[in-house]
Symmetry: D2
Subunit: 274 residues, 4 copies
């Protein structure tokens, strides 16, 4: 039950988004307005694409609001595509390896939600991860398992397909164990070029997710972004209330793909493995 945001556009310093705005991530870590939990203090992470092939990731188990490093780093790091995530743990350990974004090769992945009765279904889910990805698992959270399942099911070649097969599999396993609504998720995913987001839950009542399709909404989270590019776009768990009207809710059971200012929205349907 977390908060996250993603930015795609001209390179900006992370502090423009993470620290300087009225309803910044830091502020959200203390006073989330729409989340299932008000305090998101069980660690945080930022992941960004810079000049190198691999993205950078910085995570800590402290609350974001009291990390001196985050302030210093966000003022220095510039990126055209990045994620920030605040964790509110749902039962698994508070450790860096359970913080988002999760990274594998050039991929970054953030999740807000839960795999219901995770301890019941975990073993079946973990065993479905391909052997070469199995050893990449470093933590104990449900979110990391979703990431490696999606990669197992082909996300690297077909993002929407891999995620759909992952969601279908999680629902299938959950229902085999008698879980009524196995999956609740908003996801943010990137390969460094495209920014993907998904909003889906088995019960059709998924946590909030919004996107901007104009520079106006981005100003809400990055006030100076328009100085740099007209095609900056963003995705957020929760918009700044004062400018709520400029944010567009991602509909239930849908996917968003952002690339160079273009926003494509499509419906999302889990695919059960045959």
């Amino acid at each position: 039950m977390c908060r996250w945001l993603a930015y795609s556009g001209a390179p900006i310093h992370l502090d423009e988004v993470v620290l300087k705005t009225e309803h910044s991530l830091i502020d959200q870590s203390l006073h989330a307005k729409e989340g299932a939990t008000e305090t998101n203090g069980d660690g945080f992470g930022v992941g960004w694409y810079g000049k190198r092939d691999m993205p950078g990731v910085y995570k800590d188990i402290r609350p974001a609001w009291n990390d001196s490093n985050l302030h210093a780093l966000a003022a220095q790091i510039e990126s055209h595509l990045f994620f920030a995530h605040l964790r509110a743990a749902t039962g698994t350990a508070i450790q860096r390896t359970n913080c988002h974004p999760f990274q594998y090769e050039n991929w970054l992945f953030v999740h807000n939600g839960t795999v219901r009765e995770f301890q019941t279904v975990k073993r079946d889910l973990v065993f479905a991860i391909s052997p070469e990805l199995f050893t990449e698992i470093k933590g104990s959270s449900d979110s990391e398992i979703l990431f490696y399942l999606a990669l197992t099911f082909g996300m690297a070649e077909d993002v929407a397909g891999g995620v759909a097969r992952m969601a279908g599999f999680v629902e299938q396993v959950g229902r085999q164990h008698g879980v009524e609504h196995p999956l609740q998720m908003t996801l943010g995913i990137s390969d460094g070029q495209h920014l993907y987001a998904f909003r889906y839950s088995s019960e059709g009542d998924t946590r909030s997710l919004y996107y901007s399709d104009s520079i106006e909404a981005v100003k809400d989270i990055a006030p100076r972004a328009h100085e740099f590019s007209a095609d900056a776009r963003a995705i957020v768990s929760e918009p700044l209330s004062a400018l709520r009207q400029v944010w567009i809710p991602v509909e239930e059971s849908s996917a968003v793909m952002i690339h160079k200012g273009d926003v494509e929205v499509s419906s999302f349907v889990p695919m059960a493995p045959s």
Copy 2:
């Protein structure tokens, strides 16, 4: 702007108080009801007297609610007199040396409140600490300075007198620097035998503090305490709401001293150094 509690009575395991109750310290760390800040997630500490001369202290900068060690330790540590404290930082660094309780020899000290315009008055306050105590300062918080000032002004021989002279000095220095209301404090102090508490602020509007003078109120924070002794007493920043009537507010500008079940309340007046 923190939360704290103190217990005095038959030895009990700390988890009876810290973890198991409906409105436990852990719960308060997420949802304080009367504090100036709702989230108290900038570290915590417990300090307790056991069989040895020196008290034990355990502190961490994590939020109390996600520390696996705290759960394990509180289940093992038994004490007849202990403090637990949740920190909500007011501008100084998040580090163990700024977490409460502060300890010096057999003394423990917790504070909820603030020295107003601390950065302005800090130098004058620090310079008034006696040279042999000066080198004991390990952190950068206002609370630690209050502790060593009180010791400098004779707290070890006369608790109420030392605290009164400390408060008078802090007000004197503050007013010299044009601070209207220099001091806001509730304090919990012990030498291992007696439990002291103070409620005072320059503006006469001090944060809440309550004590129990019967076993009934203690049941509120330690449901099984009555099984062990009839003279258990407690002091809390904030009582469990359901049993509010059994808690007695500490009046403005007053001091409480608890010893073997006896509770003495007296008025508290700062003494300006001559």
Copy 3:
């Protein structure tokens, strides 16, 4: 490639062993003499049995030598049976959930050694853990997997048998993957009553392990232990050099069981599952 010790005898404060001796655990964390790595700074843990049914555990990822909490806690905690462990990581993440001792119900478990080519064999090992124990896995280390495998193979009913079947299974899986010497281990295990230790490696060249069968050797790690009981016993990765002669090496491929001052040594042979 770690260091550990275990104590069984009259209750003593942990600091007698962990902090006060010439070649204490703290000193060993900086300057191990016989270990494969000289610095053991990747976290530490203590686990102890007190008055309650469940043991207490305290772990941190800091080096033991700079943890202020460890000093304060070891001075307060009294135990008749405890472990202390220093970690030198062999490739898995530095996080509390990878620190020893591992605990499950009334069991504590410490390990010095390695499962060779762990990333290759991990999946097969993890899948052999019984489903009800699978969800107890919190970290990513080889040692934790050995613990839950031993429990899966019946350690709770038959300690030596469970460990033998675990070792046999790890060797079987390793050899199926072409690993010449799959297992290297010294183990310390307790149910709260008995203290068990094992020294075994596939190559017959296991890291050092010593036990005391008299109070003389225990004085080496707990100088005042003889004041309390004549039947105190200890097991250590590495003795204090000055008194080396009082320590008895645990032979290759053998097991030690200590109970109320009695020490039984027997040979240890892995049992391959049929």
Copy 4:
């Protein structure tokens, strides 16, 4: 008793220096060859100048060798002038605010050495810091006090003069307290344009310090630096042994100033305040 290095030249990624070389900072944190302590595991820090006015700083109390964030950050951060520092504490708390580099406005400062009998002289030293800088003190180490004393004595206008007056004052205060050799230091300082280093101790036996005056030595710590510029220069506590001849020892009681590839060496004499 720490290790540090500084780089000045064409912008390079920090991992070129911090992680990738044979005798990298990470390696030095485990196996320093010339330091007074072999293990430098009490925290670390990097400070760098990028595109912004203020330098970035990243510090943690973990040993450098096990910090996953450091690896990820050093691969992303590019800088033309940076410091890296490994701490081996000499008695003060392990906390981020005691880690180097210390930063004030555009200044960065690292120290290897000690103020002898610091607890005895600390009060006199702290009181000499100018009131406006006094409130910047966040930690409890001797090194931070040296930094703010040098700023108090005019370092921002005249680096060599400020440092000389600081050193003279520290010696004066120490000798007033009967300390024979009050000061031991190598210092690295920058304003973002120039790189300064000092080697001095009261006893004339200062810890090692080396500089490069050609690109050859820099290759030792940054193998690919020559691809980018011929005027890269570096300063190190301890050179890579294999290329020792390319490093030039900084003489006792001398100062080094590096600017755009030019290296000026001058003698350094403390100036006692009149």
